[in-house]
């Protein structure tokens, strides 16, 4: 019997010994790193950890982060994984074996991978503080039982890496490679990083260096799947139906077959200004705001972001305030508990109510140019640079949304402008995953989250309609109580490292303070 009888090998996987040779190999491995480096669904769930949204089902991971009941044993959604970092390290360790590929090309490959790795460390450190900094993979699990590195080390790493790759990454790629990390993406992450850690002047400088992008002409148009590659997009999670699809079932109303897993709160609805730029408190005094018909004459972004009672969505009138409706809060488990549903990104249901919403190809934005403008505004407010550049940055975002420019007289102090900028950021990016980080870095999470969470007031949807087609409503019954939310700072500024991770690597102890 010859020896080859006992030599068998799989016929459906590549062998590392013959890999890492040519450009095709590098493309395969690079694509493997983009696979799952960020999750579109997860970005949309993340606001449930803030005052913007509520996660109806604890097992999905965000209920207890939102109400503060999370613990190491039951941490809810976890970001504590190093899978993409491992793939990145593997790539960086081997890429230079591919000598068939020119050094210049390899440099761009490396820069993309280092960007993705830095992006992952940003997620890790903003959620967990101190985490192990791993830049070389381990040969055995035993070696991987490493302790955490201080957040300062992680931050320095992220900053250095991004500065390095910004000068290498191209401004764009050929059309077929759309979705790869550009120079702008690395700049945007560095900008977000500086802002998060309150280095405002660096944030401002970095933001101003970002060029080549402009706002999409309309706000609603941003979320039309047909327009997902518009001039505003700096980086987005790519999806395509069937093979790398996004399932919108968790975000849609029960009446359309959705689960209402993540639903907007009343607090978010109230944050949208009136169409003329007044806050609802101001408009209440002038009588423009009618608490029993509150969705009338509001910032158009409200209608583009949230399905509210009386709205015509997917050819149906959304009647969550009326008992007997499929969307009434206690009709079904999957009816929204707040009486609101998620609209951003789901507008495809308006265009075609028969869309296969469980199998969509929408790209989900990670960075878009509006964030650059609002970062310029915020950094300048914090730096006390109240000048025209600040107002213009805000105006661009507001005018694009068909809102009036900032009333210079009304918003002239640092204090009033800070409030305005923060609110602008909230309504512009609602349900895009920024809010939790924002309220934590602004140190206002305990103030905004320590409350009873309630949904919309209940009542009836009237026959009369507004010019935009929405029905008027009469909210004359009390709101329903959902839960009491707690946020203890500084404990809840960070998530607990999951007990399961500590069980496997006791060197991670101690857990974050308070857990």
């Amino acid at each position: 019997c010859d020896d080859s009888f006992l030599e068998t090998a799989p016929n459906d996987a590549l062998s590392p010994s013959t890999f890492w040779k040519n450009e095709k190999d590098l493309e395969l491995a690079l694509t493997g790193i983009y696979n799952g480096f960020e999750s579109g669904g997860s970005l949309m769930y993340r606001d449930a950890g803030s005052d913007n949204a509520y996660n109806n089902f604890p097992w999905e991971g965000w209920t207890n982060i939102g109400n503060g009941k999370l613990s190491a044993a039951d941490p809810g959604a976890s970001y504590y994984n190093f899978g993409t970092i491992n793939r990145s390290n593997e790539f960086l360790e081997n890429v230079d074996k591919a000598t068939e590929v020119s050094e210049e090309k390899r440099a761009i490959y490396k820069a993309q991978v280092r960007f993705i790795r830095a992006y992952n460390y940003y997620i890790l450190t903003t959620n967990y503080g101190d985490v192990p900094l791993i830049t070389e993979n381990f040969a055995t699990p035993e070696e991987a039982k490493v302790p955490r590195d201080s957040r300062e080390i992680i931050r320095k790493f992220i900053e250095d890496e991004l500065k390095d790759v910004i000068v290498v990454l191209p401004e764009s790629y050929p059309g077929g490679e759309y979705g790869k990390a550009t120079k702008g993406a690395a700049q945007a992450l560095l900008m977000r990083y500086y802002l998060y850690f309150k280095e405002y002047s660096k944030a401002l400088t970095t933001a101003k260096e970002i060029s080549g992008y402009s706002l999409n002409p309309t706000f609603e148009g941003l979320f039309d799947p047909a327009n997902e590659q518009n001039s505003e997009v700096i980086l987005s999670v790519q999806h395509t139906a069937d093979f790398y699809a996004l399932d919108f079932t968790p975000f849609l109303p029960n009446g359309l077959g959705g689960w209402s897993s993540v639903v907007p709160t009343q607090s978010l609805v109230d944050a949208f200004e009136m169409a003329d730029g007044k806050t609802i408190e101001e408009a209440k005094e002038t009588g423009e705001y009618d608490p029993s018909n509150p969705y009338k004459n509001r910032d158009p972004r409200l209608r583009a972001t949230i399905v509210y009672p009386g709205q015509v969505f997917a050819n149906q009138v959304y009647r969550s305030i009326e008992e007997g409706s499929n969307d009434y809060y206690n009709t079904a488990d999957n009816a929204s508990k707040t009486g609101y549903n998620f609209k951003k990104y789901t507008t495809f249901m308006d265009l075609d109510p028969g869309s296969p919403y469980w199998n969509m190809g929408n790209d989900i934005y990670i960075f878009r140019y509006a964030e650059v403008l609002l970062t310029i505004a915020e950094a300048k407010v914090e730096l006390g640079q109240i000048d025209n550049e600040l107002y213009e940055a805000l105006d661009k975002v507001r005018l694009r949304a068909n809102m009036p420019a900032v009333d210079r007289a009304k918003y002239s102090s640092q204090e009033t402008l800070r409030k305005l900028v923060r609110n602008e950021r909230r309504v512009e990016f609602a349900m895009e995953g920024l809010r939790r980080d924002d309220i934590i870095r602004w140190d206002i999470a305990s103030e905004t989250l320590n409350k009873d969470l309630t949904g919309t007031k209940r009542g009836t949807v009237l026959e009369s309609t507004q010019p935009n087609g929405d029905h008027n409503v009469s909210l004359n019954l009390p709101a329903n109580f959902i839960e009491n939310r707690q946020f203890q700072a500084p404990k809840n500024n960070l998530l607990p490292i999951p007990q399961a991770a500590i069980d496997k690597n006791p060197n991670l102890k101690p857990n974050n303070t308070g857990y």
Partner: protein, 976 residues
């Protein structure tokens, strides 16, 4: 003339020898024999499988001899690896059972039929699903953290218990220790089950027909509350969490009086679910016989089973032909062919799939106030749909499995005591599975779809070659030597292809082509495993008193890297038949046989991993990403590989005693120690390691145990009495664990010095009765102020003043450490009676929220246990307070607590049989030699303290498994 004592059928081929001489003969077709012998001599009448008798001729010229079947332990020949051996000469630990213990039992799987029959062989039958109701078999505990099922050989060729029908089984031997199993080397660490199928006997053709019809029903069903009770509890739970009640007094009254069956229904989902007939019919037809040149047996089996849930069923056909040709005195050829085809079907749903499991789970969850159907005939639904609507759509999943096994062998007797044999085998299993998810419009506002179809074709083939030489010789009448040398080679090939389409225009077009090409998917891969082995065995005995045996096997497997490819597995054993010693002569009147055995040996487990290439690092394909909305292929290292991986090695030590007392009582006692080293474990990779499945040979598990079996038989006039009992205690201990003290996974822990996979969590000691009680108790940091009066009191086990993750302790074993079985056998005239009991103790099951139910809106319902929940006015109870939802300090979901852990100790009547043989004088008219009619029951009753409504053998946890079933059946055996 020699006949069978029970059946009266003549037995051909019986050996008749004049005692102390070589003068002898054999019976002919009709059981007749002629032997010339002195008038007063004694004849020894012996035949395989019957008690040997000695009869004095006493000047008679015609003698009728009735041989008793099976009883003779002393002459019993037992099948062992690559041969047979007299039981008295065994030095290893082998348990065996005759095929007749599996007959007339309406069992639907051979594995389940073994339950309770053999000491040290534990069988857990956890489901009654047609076609998937086999038991999980463990021999002498669980020795590995991996694949722990024994190796099964049928007529010397590796296969599966599913390949053989109980009616075709002549005997089953279980090789329990390394001394007996080492001849199978790297596949034998979990024990070996040897099945021998029935062959033809010398004589005229005998036709056997048996038929059995039975009805199955669940052994236990959980008791869920109806609408009124649930609605009341739901309001209470909502109130407890500060929310408004959902149901008004009016609603409650309508639920109570049932006057509004559509608006306020009280749907009994369990009742709707279990509407299947549970009907089982088994038919078996066999012809056997033999001449000087041939032995043959052919049989056909058919079993059709309809589940206790509609559209779950199986239809199984099996044909078998065993043919032996003896063209020359020195040449024997043998051919065994068997073909089994099994169809199974299941319903399914368009929502999440999951087949019957998901349907049972949803029926166990959906609230009773959801109507099965609305007044207009449409279905009532919750967001997950309606499980009975899924059932109403008929079967959607079809599994078809075809197994062909062909064995051919040639044996040449070269000279007296020396033969060589070549055996080739081919086993092919073809699986053709098709799963549909039919779209459904439950009612105008609820739709699940679209229709999908998943096809899964797989084929596995194993070809083997065995070359063996056997030598036997006796020197000076006292030195008996036997030797075996052999070579084995095998190749195993597996191929799988899957295809998927969706968006079918109709639910009635179950072909892939009918679906849309948009979104279609497919996959496919092959696997290969080759092996080459050498083996040998030497037996020596001195005058039948001192017995020695040595085995050696060397295996080379393609599974491992070249430098680790060869494993060597030796074993030694010895026996001392004290009863044969001269000094024991007097004792022999009492102890007819007395033997001590001792053994040592090593075995391997190469099937520990499913992975056929565990040492070859690869970049997996399929980590794609859609740049520019177009899928682009990606590759990444997903699984870590360890090139140094090698098989697990088990060393076992054994000490045994066999005795027979007063020719009526057989007793066997074994003690053993079985240490498995180098257990392949997925090393608990920290998140920081980031790759899955890093396996290494880093575990060590020790099993120590004692087994005893006892058989007593006697006759009192016309009454035959038999009692058989066996018990086994096994202590399982984890000795080494990947360089760590413990690995916690979910609710279970692997901790050094403890049993594998023990339950791990918080100890609770009753309920908090008041806020003051809570305040005085160590602070619970896990739940903080969520703890309310009526919640479980978590014990601060380490006494540090607070309850936290460090207070988790071992709560109990997940597998039994004590297994036992016993049977009682009575025969009186034409009546016979058999009762077989089986039980296990020492294990616990965890009651998850799916099992106990919860108060959680439409998607869940509480079980009856919640009626006795704690309330401020019902404080004398162990059941915690109600909460709204499935989470809470006292709910089983998030924390594992001792409260929800329940002992699964049980004693079960596995089989009851009452039979009647139609008297010979009636049968003779029809030329029938035997006709027996019987009633038989499986799982007739169970004594247990487990949570009411849940079967102790069923898997704990999710509560979605197909119930364990009880079967009542009647049948007949006909021979002519």
């Amino acid at each position: 003339k020699v006949v069978d004592k029970d059946t009266g059928i003549p037995i051909p081929g019986v050996n008749i020898i004049e005692k102390g001489t070589t003068n002898g003969t054999m019976t002919d077709f009709d059981g007749n024999f002629i032997l010339e012998a002195p008038a007063n001599t004694t004849l020894v009448i012996s035949y395989l499988g019957y008690t040997t008798q000695e009869i004095n001729i006493n000047n008679r010229s015609e003698i009728d001899i009735a041989l008793q079947q099976g009883a003779a332990a002393l002459d019993e020949v037992i099948v062992v690896g690559y041969g047979t051996q007299k039981k008295v000469n065994l030095t290893g630990s082998v348990a065996s059972v005759d095929g007749d213990m599996l007959e007339s039992r309406a069992i639907t799987s051979v594995s389940a039929g073994l339950s309770g029959l053999l000491p040290g062989v534990s069988v857990r039958q956890s489901s009654g699903m047609p076609g998937a109701d086999g038991g999980t078999i463990r021999i002498r505990g669980t020795g590995t953290l991996n694949q722990a099922s024994p190796m099964v050989l049928i007529d010397g060729v590796e296969g599966s218990l599913n390949d053989v029908q109980s009616n075709d089984i002549a005997s089953i031997s279980v090789l329990k220790d390394a001394a007996s199993a080492a001849i199978y080397g790297s596949k034998a660490a979990n024990g070996v089950i040897l099945i021998t199928t029935k062959t033809g006997k010398y004589g005229e053709p005998t036709v056997n027909f048996s038929s059995d019809i039975g009805w199955q029903s669940p052994t236990k069903l959980p008791d869920y509350l109806g609408s009124y009770d649930y609605a009341t509890l739901y309001n209470e739970a909502l109130e407890n969490s500060g929310k408004a009640a959902k149901f008004s007094e009016e609603d409650l009254e309508l639920f109570r009086n049932g006057s509004d069956p559509f608006g306020h229904p009280d749907t009994d989902w369990q009742d709707l679910l279990y509407q299947g007939s549970g009907f089982v019919i088994t038919n078996n037809f066999g012809i056997s016989g033999g001449s000087d040149f041939t032995r043959y047996r052919a049989s056909i089996n058919h079993q059709k089973q309809e589940g206790i849930i509609k559209h779950t069923g199986k239809n199984e056909y099996n044909g078998r032909l065993n043919l032996t040709l003896i063209p020359k005195k020195w040449l024997t050829t043998n051919m065994n062919l068997s073909y089994t085809q099994m169809d199974r079907e299941q319903p399914n749903n368009a929502y999440v799939g999951g087949g019957i499991d998901q349907i049972i789970r949803q029926a166990n969850r959906i609230a009773p106030w959801i109507p099965y159907k609305n007044e207009d005939g449409t279905y009532g639904t919750i967001s997950d749909g309606n499980p009975i609507a899924w059932l109403d759509m008929g079967p959607q999943i079809n599994y078809l499995r075809k197994t062909f096994v062909g064995i051919g062998s040639i044996q040449v007797d070269l000279m007296k005591g020396l033969n060589v044999k070549a055996l080739v085998s081919h086993r092919n299993v073809e699986s053709d599975n098709s799963e549909m998810n039919k779209e459904i419009q439950y009612n105008p506002s609820k739709y699940h779809g679209p229709t999908k179809l998943f096809e899964d074709l797989s084929s596995s083939t194993r070809n083997t070659l065995d070359l063996t030489a056997n030598y036997f010789s006796t020197l000076n009448e006292v030195h008996n030597v036997a030797a075996l040398a052999g070579y084995h080679a095998e190749s195993f090939d597996y191929k799988r292809t899957t295809a998927y389409r969706e968006n079918f225009p109709s639910t009635e077009l179950p072909n892939l082509d009918a679906g849309s090409t948009n979104g279609m998917k497919n996959s496919g891969y092959t696997r290969e495993l080759n092996m080459v082995s050498w083996f040998g065995r030497i037996n020596y005995d001195f005058d039948g008193r001192y017995l020695l045996e040595a085995n050696l096997r060397a295996d080379a497997s393609s599974r491992f890297a070249e430098e680790n490819r060869v494993g060597v597995f030796p074993s030694f054993s010895a026996g001392w038949r004290i009863s044969e010693e001269a000094f024991f002569e007097k004792g022999k009147n009492i102890f007819n046989d007395l033997k001590l055995r001792v053994s040592w040996g090593q075995l391997g487990n190469q099937d520990a991993l499913d992975d056929y290439y565990p040492t070859i690092p690869t970049l997996g394909l399929g980590t794609d990403y859609p740049f520019n909305s177009t899928i682009t292929p990606g590759a990444a290292v997903i699984n870590a590989k360890n090139e140094a991986l090698i098989w697990e090695k088990t060393t076992s030590y054994g000490l045994g005693l066999d005795t027979r007392i007063f020719n009526k009582l057989d007793l066997t006692v074994d003690v053993y120690k079985k240490l498995t080293e180098g257990i392949i474990m997925q090393v608990p990779a920290p998140n920081e390691f980031a790759l899955n499945n890093f396996f290494d040979n880093v575990g060590k598990v020790d099993n120590k145990g004692i087994e005893a079996s006892l058989n007593y038989r006697d006759t009192f006039g016309d009454l035959y009495f038999g009692f058989g009992g066996n018990l086994a205690y096994n202590k399982n201990e984890l000795v080494q664990l990947a360089g760590t003290d413990q690995i916690i996974s979910g609710r279970q822990i692997r901790q050094l010095g403890k049993s594998l996979d023990a339950w791990y969590g918080y100890k609770t000691d009753g309920l908090h009765q008041s806020q003051a009680d809570i305040d005085n108790y160590p602070i619970n940091t896990i739940y903080g102020n969520q703890i309310k009066p009526g919640d479980l009191r978590y014990v601060d086990t380490n006494g540090d003043g607070e309850v936290n993750a460090d207070d988790r302790v071992l709560l109990g074993n997940s597998t039994p450490n004590f297994n036992f079985g016993f049977n009682l056998n009575l025969e009186y005239k034409n009546f016979d009676f058999l009762a077989l009991f089986q039980g296990a103790t020492g294990a616990y099951g965890y009651m998850d929220f799916d099992a106990i139910g919860a108060v959680n809106g439409d998607a869940q319902k509480p079980s009856a246990i919640w009626l006795d929940r704690w309330t401020p006015t019902n404080t004398d109870t162990g059941v915690p307070r109600l909460v709204d939802g499935i989470y809470g300090p006292s709910m089983p979901q998030n924390s594992t607590t001792s409260y929800w852990l329940r002992s699964t100790d049980y004693l079960r009547m596995k089989n009851l049989q009452i039979g009647y043989n139609i008297p010979q004088n009636i049968l003779e008219r029809w030329n029938i030699s035997r006709l027996r009619v019987y009633y038989s029951a499986q799982n007739l009753f169970t004594v247990t303290n487990y949570l009411e409504g849940w079967d102790p053998e069923a898997p704990s946890g999710r509560g979605s498994s197909y119930p364990v079933v009880m079967t009542n059946s009647v049948g007949l055996n006909l021979t002519f």
